[in-house]
Symmetry: C2
Subunit: 123 residues, 2 copies
């Protein structure tokens, strides 16, 4: 499925990793690079690089934590929030079409499976 969805992705779009980081920030609010790295199960330098790219595109924003000056707080910009929504919409289009073609019962199976997998992945 991952390969199949990749084939649907147009150029100029966010990569999976970039989108995933934006989505986490959208759901959870501002986070430190370290927290993001742990969330994505990636080493901190890898996250630094991804964040640099997002910063270059103006989608996120870095700010120093005043109470602990070692830390950095990463935040979505307005344009970042917009990009999450827009990308979600576009990216889901292909999948949404396929899902619409399924029986209601089949969609229910996928929804249940999704919850089970989420539980496994978090364990």
């Amino acid at each position: 499925m991952a390969r199949r969805l990749r084939a649907e992705k147009s150029d100029q779009e966010l990569t999976d990793g970039q989108f995933s980081v934006l989505a986490v920030l959208d759901r959870n609010g501002p986070l430190t690079p370290r927290a993001l790295a742990e969330y994505e199960r990636v080493q901190p330098p890898s996250m630094t690089r991804t964040l640099s790219r997002l910063l270059d595109r103006g989608l996120v924003d870095r700010a120093g934590d005043p109470t602990d000056r070692r830390q950095v707080i990463v935040r979505l910009t307005d344009s970042g929030t917009l990009a999450v929504q827009e990308t979600r919409r576009r990216r889901d289009a292909w999948l949404a079409r396929r899902l619409a073609e399924l029986e209601p019962k089949e969609r229910a199976v996928l929804a249940e499976a999704s919850e089970i997998l989420r539980r496994i992945a978090d364990s």
Copy 2:
């Protein structure tokens, strides 16, 4: 789930792409690079590179097609066949443990979902 599984992968193991190619050859028998590229939804040069690595490791084998000399036939070596089985065993270990902890009904849901997704991905 992909990220979660990646975290379970030990060093020195085959990458996802490499393993996937070996698995296709194991299931379908010898194929041309182009057929493999289409199967993996990857451009031919990407497949050339993956095949080079597998060739370096002695896991596959290239042979010219006698009837069409433009074509190349890629085949698993004995050690490639062994590697597929061995990797499948190791890679599945983490997931198998998790699956064993589920209710039989939950496993059934995942099995159904898997079929539905396979159908979608092939469409």
